[in-house]
Amino acid sequence: ATEPWPENAALYQQLKEEQILLSDNASSLAVQAFLQMCNLPIRVICRANAEYMSPSGKVPFIHVGNQVVSELGPIVQFVKAKGHSLSDGLDEVQKAEMKAYMELVNNMLLTAELYLQWCDDVTVEEITHPRYGSPYPWPLNRILSYQKQWEVRRKMKAIGWAGKTLEQVLEDVDQCCHALSQRLGTQPYFFNKQPTELDALVFGHLFTILTTQLITDELSEKVKNYSNLTAFCRRIEQQYFEGHEKDCSTVAARSSKRSLLR
């Protein structure tokens, strides 16, 4: 039986202005986009310790009723169990394709974002370390960020990305964007008329890359090379996020603004 979606559903992420990093922002935006596409209202709550509150250690996570679910994959399944799904209209081959492209984005874009913010020394010193530990006093902020950096670098080494240079990583990002651009073509969404979780995921990552200021603009330049991808991001932003304010917005205000646009 499908239970109704409660009014006080909340999405937790780190502090938007001072703390959150590129990769976490991308994941959070992807989940927000997905829930918007499903027409499920959600509040965004920013907490400094969101990462530790999460059941899997990763942000974002949603608190719905008395259940807590984190990361896009499990959230999609959870929402499907509640009776809302974006990919029901796809046939088996299309579903396989969708899953494959989602893995491509996770494999290449997310890993590249993690590499850039934790393995590139300049970015680590100037952006990541100050931001990651900012809510905490010294020395806790340095300890926490060094711990996280060590963890991420271990993972990069295990999957073979530790030996890559920044140019190679940017080349991989370019290859991934090229593939996404080819797949999107001139359609409004990846599977023609209806948005799916793949559109939400791609939007989350690309929009964050385009709008986040890093040391250099090389990463966003790679995405800007593909005009259909930037148009795709703008379209989804206009359609689903126009009423979204800087701080945590209320449900009522957002839904009324959305109805004006449609």
């Binding site: 899997s56 494959a100 492209y101 893995e103 491509l104 295990a158 999957i159 593939a179 797949r183």
Partner: protein, 312 residues
Amino acid sequence: MAAPMELSCWGGDWGLPSLHPESLTVMAYAKFSGAPLTVNIINNSWRTPKGDLPVLVSEDTVISQPAKILNFLRKQKYNADYDLSAKQGADTLAYIALLEEKLLPALLHTFWIEAENYCSVTKPWFASRIAFPLRLYLPGKMSREALNRILLTKGGPPLYSLTEVEAQIYRDAKECLNLLSKRLGTSQFFFGDTPTTLDAFVFGFLAPIYKVCFPRVQLQEHLKQLPNLCRFCDDILTCYFRFTVSGHSPAGQDTADANLQKLTQLVNKESNLIEKMDDNLRKSPQHPPRKLTTLKLAAGGEESGPMSRLSP
């Protein structure tokens, strides 16, 4: 065309040219694109420049990862993806990512971490091919690396023990196999009738699961329930790897011997039949006088022949 290219990789068994998925991928791609590679079966991955196989050496360039090797081959004009549209090229990248994320952990687990498999099959096989004293160290190192990779990429909370991680990765792998099977459908290769990069990668990952005989085989059993994937592997093995297969595996040698035996039996039978026909002809009443005269003439001719040759 190009300088001679040499590929160093692990050897094979159970009907496969190599047991290592990445080596198998590169070999398959070389066969599909017609690149002339000399395959060098080596038994010591420490001799390679960066310590991992497969490695392609061409003149002065040394390239080590499968994706980079394939890129190099494409630049040398050995391109198996020539006929693919841009969208199909994008699909290739996506499916390769799916294979690496979902299928590779379970493959590594089956080979290197599952205790029974590792102790009874993988470790002895690799140890028998590596020289002493490295054979005491290298299989263990490869096993530890595989465990590390799986735990770091898949083993965060809420999965706290190795058994939970195992359950999750096998679930993912079976789902991945189902997705591949649906994508392949009834066609011979993933993009029509000619094999491409994606076919090379899928073959590289599936063939070891399919062919190697392990004691714990849950992934193999699941794969055998997907007949189009099994047919896909068998097709590639018979079409592209026939000569290497018959050279290496004992099963292939036996069939060759059996064929030879059958052939000799047939020849013997035929010659027996011919002799019988001859006998019948000689015994039949119509021909004896003519036969005798021809024989005498032949005998006479033969006697005179050598004598005339012998005389100077």
